[in-house]
Subunit: 285 residues, 2 copies
């Protein structure tokens, strides 16, 4: 039986009970409208941990002005059913008033890692992500927390925050889950019209192409991103926001050749819908 908690106190009370029983706790933070990508995180958590908490909360502090906070898709009944079927012990579904005081003052900011890629067009996004994730860590006190590689910059930033603030937990990054044609699963895919949905496959095609180039020995980041850009630009409905190769350590462009673990990440607008995709690559692996 999955517990539905709307308040912090309800979560803490369940956690205290589990801890008293010696159980391990996994956390899957989500914004809801769950799809197979989230499902894979929950499955992994259920596999690793005795009790799994899924948070379903469209976090206002990570949306900038003019972004899709209001229109972000929501379907709690579906989310709850998915969590129940997957074996989650508790679904935390608070409203914004439960989590944020009007006079909140605390800001968590990630220098360095939040400046490029999505941080460029979404300047407060990662501050908001760090804030809500830190809060959830302190509310749920999980042993492990699960994040998808789909949001690769977010994954690297959360890992850095956990290291820098010594959160006593492990971050588990999980692979991107894709549609049969390759499109990375995303709640925002529902924004796409039929023709846009067909066009959106260009993201994963470019990612596959870039990954293959790196795998086959190409070490010039500009050669890889140029080839990927050419692929994307062939699609008339696609507008590139960025196609970048950055170091995993600093999320900054490389000075020269690929000589360290990198993230290759892209953001592309298909019509008005902004989609992202990426791959990690380690030349020394």
């Amino acid at each position: 039986m999955t517990i539905v908690a709307h308040s912090i106190a309800e979560v803490r009370s369940a956690v205290i009970q589990w801890r008293a029983e010696g159980k391990s706790i996994g956390l899957v933070p989500t914004m809801g409208f769950l799809h197979e990508g989230h499902q894979s995180l929950i499955d992994q958590a259920v596999c690793d941990c005795d009790c799994v908490v899924v948070s379903v909360f469209v976090n206002p502090t990570q949306f900038g002005p003019g972004e899709d906070l209001e229109s972000y898709p929501r379907d709690f009944d579906h989310d709850l059913a998915l969590c129940q079927a997957a074996g989650a012990a508790l679904v935390f579904h608070p409203d914004a008033e439960e989590l944020y005081y009007p006079n909140r003052s605390t800001i968590i900011h990630m220098a360095d890692l939040s400046e490029e890629l999505c941080g460029k067009s979404r300047p407060i996004h990662f501050d908001g992500v760090c804030l809500i994730v830190a809060k959830l860590f302190n509310i749920v006190t999980p042993d492990r927390a699960y994040f998808g590689q789909k949001d690769a910059q977010q994954l690297l930033i959360i890992k850095r925050m956990v290291r820098d603030l010594n959160f006593p937990l492990e971050i588990v990054g999980c692979p991107i889950i894709r549609e049969s044609d390759g499109l990375a699963k995303s709640s925002r895919n529902t924004y796409l019209s039929e023709s846009e949905r067909a066009a959106a496959v260009v993201l994963s095609q470019a990612i596959a192409q870039g990954h293959k180039l790196a795998d086959s020995g190409e070490r010039d980041p500009r050669a890889i991103t140029a080839a990927m850009r050419t692929t994307i630009e062939r699609e008339p409905l696609a507008n590139i926001e960025y196609v970048e190769i950055v170091s995993q350590e600093h999320i900054k462009p490389l000075d020269g050749l690929i000589d360290q673990p990198i993230l290759c990440a892209i953001a592309v607008r298909i019509g008005t819908t902004r989609l992202i995709d990426n791959f990690f690559f380690d030349p020394n692996a």
Copy 2:
């Protein structure tokens, strides 16, 4: 027997053991050179908690350029003896490399509350305090953490951070401990020459005067601070940095009369030594 831990791993290992035994944990974060003020925090913690951790760490991230990081007084043998005598279970005495990675990126910033008082002359100070305190919370995972009211702005900021980030612990504020003539105990008092030490009593005199005015019904903050200024200015060795009355909620000057809980705080240089003192007052109490 007090454990001396230099590494995070040693602390975590002790904490896991204590938790398995169902023991409660108290944390007293200090920069060492312990005096009766710190002692009173440790005593309170020992009274409230099964196991008390005292951290002794001169935290570089809370010192600005030109401040007294290098010259800050240190005496670990004395600190350890005091902690042992007071019944601390563990003294955490790491070096800076144990706590800070060269590529650390995470910043905790307190908007609003850190802008006035000490925040004006020490712009990065409270970011550094929040960072080290958040780290210690995550390393020690205390049930309660103890802070002196001597650093009143710090106390209010830490309380706000704990609330905003949902740290699962209680902040216990402890009263200012004073020398027999009233001077608030501080590790920095050792910087004072004999004549400066005599002059330093002017801080507690002004605080007592301001507190008495508020207690006796004065509600005009400027009347109170003006009287306090006059007292301090009578001392030739004293140079006022600030004498302020601010709201406890925002640490900002009041618009009009004292109609909410306030902090009256002063910072005064005696020669080259910067000393602080304060009182809290609630007109509705």
